[in-house]
């Protein structure tokens, strides 16, 4: 494995950006596009599409299963090591036998992606933000936005607001109510605690918490029942990745509406469109990939089983790729 980067300003290209090589893959960007090359091919993505996907892959630690940046390029998380691929989950590439995949350690690929994200993100552009709430990613190198691309992901051990755990969001902490949720009530539950039970009597306003999120399509953990994780997120515009499941994942639509395109995980063939409105609950089977569309900022509760046993159990046929057989 080789890992090299010609990062700006040491050896920038004409647009001022570094070029990154890891294994057989090379990444370069110009004013509008990211270009990826590998031993059997080449591919381009609009730079805004690429940076939004790259940001999620970095922030989520390659997430559960497959993160497709688009229908060609992406990563498969094996939890400790990661496959980076081109065309592996694209039927045409597979049939033509021009798909390519290479395995890296988690840390090596993460370091490469982090360096690329830092160098290619310009001042004033936030890949986590909704398109209406950030500047342009295009053009020549115009500085950086390290504060945006290195946000800490919230992961509560027990529940947000419990003493010693993650705390609620406030104006003073730099989390004002988002413009899309200006009408969301900001009241708090009434918590009456007897002395000595401060660590066990706790509650907070989850909808207020989500209304103050400054990012989109970025699930964070607010409560954990063993390996059952509540991962709410505020959504607007398009999920920047096409998420390929390696386990069943559940969506609870808390507000407004998201429409999901569901495709076969391996071929990309269309399977369904799922329209989720407030109060709807839907499972995403373990053999699909999905991408969501949220026309208005909405609240989504992503519910995950974080057990690392699940992908192997599905592969061995011990459990169904469906959530429930009925």
């Amino acid at each position: 494995m080789t890992l090299t980067s010609d990062t700006a300003p040491a050896n920038p290209n004409d647009a001022g950006y570094g070029t990154f090589t890891i294994g057989g893959f090379t990444f370069s960007r110009d004013e509008y596009f990211a270009t990826i090359t590998w031993p059997t091919g080449t591919h381009q993505l609009a730079i805004d599409v690429f940076l939004r996907a790259l940001q999620r892959d970095v922030a989520w630690g390659f997430f559960y299963g497959i993160v497709n940046f688009d229908s060609v390029f992406g990563t498969v998380n094996h939890y400790g090591n990661v496959d980076m691929f081109a065309g592996r989950f694209n039927d045409a590439y597979r049939r033509a036998e021009v798909d390519y995949s290479e395995n890296f350690t988690h840390d090596d690929l993460m370091a490469c992606f982090q360096s690329m994200l830092k160098d290619w993100t310009n001042d004033g552009y936030d890949p986590f933000a909704a398109p209406q709430e950030t500047g342009q990613p295009f053009g020549k190198n115009n500085g950086s936005n390290d504060a945006a691309v290195t946000r800490r992901r919230v992961v509560a051990d027990r529940m947000v607001s419990v003493p010693g755990d993650e705390q609620v969001r406030t104006d003073d902490m730099g989390f004002p109510v988002n413009r899309g949720f200006a009408d969301v009530p900001q009241d708090e539950p009434i918590v009456e605690v007897e002395p000595g039970y401060e660590g066990d009597v706790a509650a907070y306003n989850l909808f207020k918490y989500i209304s103050r999120s400054d990012v989109t399509w970025n699930p964070s953990v607010v409560s954990a029942c063993k390996e059952s994780l509540y991962c709410p997120t505020s959504e607007e515009f398009i999920l920047p990745v096409i998420h390929g499941n390696d386990r069943v994942e559940w969506f609870v639509q808390l507000s407004d509406e998201i429409q999901w395109d569901v495709e076969d995980r391996d071929t990309g063939a269309k399977r369904a469109r799922v329209i989720c409105k407030a109060g709807d609950v839907a499972a995403m089977p373990a053999d699909i990939r999905h991408q969501g569309y949220s026309p208005k900022r909405s609240m989504l509760l992503v519910w995950e089983n974080a057990s690392n046993r699940i992908p192997e159990m599905i592969a061995r046929g011990e459990i169904s790729p469906r959530a429930v057989d009925f």
């Binding site: 007897e194 066990d200 009597v201 507000s255 399977r271």
Partner: protein, 166 residues
């Protein structure tokens, strides 16, 4: 310029989405609606609307006062509609195997020490702590989504609550 209107659901006002099939079985998506499920439930039935191996999401219709329950592990109650009061009690003895899954109902009021009380409305999430007892009260009708593990009182009605046809 007009602002945005955030749409939440309630027992009195919800609109259910749907699965539009291209080439699949709608049952694969286990598609239901929390408010519709609660509208068909008896008070304090624990009806699963999500299942991920041993873990479940239960919809609970809150109406009047529930029985006391004890949970072997942390559970989390998210109020989706109405106002619900959660009473918490520290039992004087161990009432549940800490390795068990899911809460169990108790006969009458357990002996122990009052821990406190939470009054929660729509969007509020409350901790139901491991090893402790709790009960719910709602003057009108409310809805809770409970993050927990499958237990003896979990009810499965998938064929009744989920979209089964394209």
């Amino acid at each position: 310029m007009a602002g945005y209107t955030t749409v939440f659901g309630s027992l009195d006002n919800y609109e259910k989405g749907r699965v539009i099939i291209v080439d699949d079985d709608p049952k694969a998506y286990v598609f239901s609606n929390i408010f519709e499920v609660a509208s068909m439930s008896k008070p304090y039935e624990k009806v699963a609307v999500g299942k991920n191996l041993e873990y479940v999401l239960e919809t609970i219709r809150c109406e009047g006062t529930s029985e006391w329950r004890v949970t072997p592990h942390d559970e989390f109650a998210l109020v989706m509609d109405g106002t619900v009061v959660v009473e918490l009690l520290d039992p004087s003895g161990q009432l549940v195997d800490p390795d068990a899954n899911g809460s169990i109902g108790l006969d009458g009021e357990p002996a122990g020490t009052r821990m406190g009380r939470i009054t929660a409305s729509r969007g509020h999430q409350a901790l139901l702590p491991a090893g402790k007892c709790y009960r719910f009260h709602c003057d009108a009708v409310g809805v809770i989504l409970l993050q927990t593990i499958e237990g003896p009182d979990t009810i499965y009605r998938w064929a009744e609550i989920c979209q089964t046809e394209a």
